[in-house]
Amino acid sequence: MNARLYAPPALSLRFIPVWRRHFLVWRKLALPSILGNLGEPLIMLFGLGYGLGAVMGEIGGVSYFAFLAAGFVASSTMYAATFEALFSAFSRMHVQKTWEAIVNAPMTLDDVLLGEWAWAVTKSLAAGVCMLAVIALFGYAKSALALAAIPAAVLIGLAFGALGLCVNAIANGYDFFSYYMTLVLTPMMMLSGVFFPVDQLPGAVLAIAMALPLYHGVEIVRPLLLGSFPSNLLLHVGVLVAYSAAGFYVATVLTRKRLLN
């Protein structure tokens, strides 16, 4: 029985009907959803980018707006996947009992989780693409390399979707998510070079930053938007892939413990 509990997630295309269900709901509620995903980061970006940028001058040879825009592509991607994997998944798992309805059909919990993960990644992909489009519209995407930020958004979505599903698996209510948002994601956003360069941080703090998935996301996205190839790309991709794989495995085991025992 423990072998079943700790078995790796069974990946099957059966997740597609779950993804399609979430997509159909989203289509009905698309407008407020897009506003929620994009409104806040764009307001922050334009407010801070132009307002603070006016007194800050340049960072590393680029305008503060361009610097911040790249950081916000990464962080809004992170938040899009997180919200889906926390609040929306929790509603479906615990409040509406949608998961329970699905597993009464010939579906498994692993299918449901894979569908949730894929959907969280879809939401972060959409958020990343929209942010990129707005930034490009204002002339802050330097070259076609910026398009490579789209697969980077998928990687960030995979990592934070998986981490979010771990938190969802142990949540006892919506309030529980405040711990994760406030104690984990907000500090991570500060330490990952979204708002300011991290290389001037003390060594110990920098070491922590480098262990965080968002740091590696920003390190991939920012050079791409500014028109250069990211250095240490394999390392950054590797860290995000590791967070995704380990995160999804842990999320699967925790969710099985919660619902199958």
């Binding site: 029985m1 709901v25 509620l29 509406q96 009464n104 059909a105 010939p106 579906m107």
Partner: protein
């Protein structure tokens, strides 16, 4: 098909230190309507989940439609419909969308599901409601839609966890009528209930569960005649406790619950004769039913 639709042997399941299902053996034939009865917390819902392979047993085995469960639960559930205890329809979808989305979980093509929707709505008495949102449906309509959703894959076996709990009498009778139609179509029905009337009306065979064990099994009428005296007189009113002492000489089994005295006997004429002289006491004479049996077997203590 000669093998039973559902067969379990020695199913056991504990949550933490509490054993909720303690060695349950069940066998349900194809085309049968089988009822699992028991007070709250008897282990009925957990037993259903074990049969469906939704949770893993600690020991014991289950076979559903010739598939081992939980190992081959996916194959088994492809031919099964489930009506859960609490409605979990998708509140963001219309009636038709709920059916369409659910059919996809069975790997059905959209065109296949579309073709089935009018018939399912007809069966559920939801004609003309295809585009209604779930919020606008009454409790009975939601229950019927949940039943229709469980039929989207044309299942051989239908599992229902308390199918009419929370419904008013009209809505309940409509569900019963539909469930009879399903058995007439040759489908196997497995339901849990604590409404004795429901079990007596619908089920060919029942099993009574308490504290995780099956304590009696058979046809409703057969169980009543096997375990309980056929006639009952319920008595209440001032002085009933005094009268109860005399009643013990008139009927073989006399019980008290709150202010009411229950006299069980094959011949209740002596009891009624005696009551005619007691103008203070009100009484009701009726045949014994499944509820009497249930209370005899599981006791009158409140279960929470």
């Amino acid at each position: 098909m000669t093998s039973p639709a559902l067969q379990t042997r020695g199913l056991r399941k504990s949550f933490g230190t509490q054993e909720v299902v303690c060695g349950v053996d069940l066998s349900v034939a194809h085309g049968e309507c089988f009822g699992l009865l028991g007070p709250n917390g008897a282990g009925k819902t957990t037993t259903l989940k074990l049969c469906l392979g939704l949770i893993d047993p600690d020991s014991g085995e289950a076979r559903l439609l010739d598939h081992d469960v939980p190992a081959r639960a996916r194959e088994a559930r492809a031919k099964v419909g489930v009506v859960p205890q609490f409605d979990n329809l998708d509140p963001d979808f219309t009636v038709a969308e709920n059916l369409a989305v659910y059919g996809r979980y069975f790997g059905m093509k959209d065109s296949q599901i579309e073709a089935r929707i009018p018939g399912l709505l007809e069966f559920a008495g939801l004609n003309g409601r295809a585009n209604s949102t779930i919020r606008t449906l009454s409790g009975g309509m939601k229950r019927r839609l949940t039943l229709a959703r469980a039929l989207v894959n044309d299942p051989q076996v239908l599992f229902m966890d308390e199918p009419t709990t929370g419904l008013d009498p009209q809505a309940r009778h409509l569900i019963w009528e539909r469930l009879r139609q399903l058995t007439q179509q040759g489908r196997t029905l497995i339901l849990t209930t604590h409404f004795m009337e429901e079990a007596e009306r619908l089920c060919r065979r029942i099993a009574i569960m308490d504290h995780g064990r099956v304590i009696a099994e058979g046809s409703p009428r057969g169980l009543i005649s096997e375990h309980i005296e056929p006639q009952v007189v319920e008595v209440h009113g001032p002085g009933s406790d005094l009268w109860m002492e005399r009643a013990r000489t008139l009927a073989p089994r006399v019980e008290r619950a709150g202010e009411t005295v229950f006299c069980y006997a094959a011949q209740v004429e002596p009891v009624i004769e005696d009551l005619r002289g007691q103008s203070e006491l009100a009484y009701l004479h009726r045949p014994a039913n499944l509820e009497d049996l249930f209370l005899k077997l599981t006791g009158r203590d409140l279960r929470d």
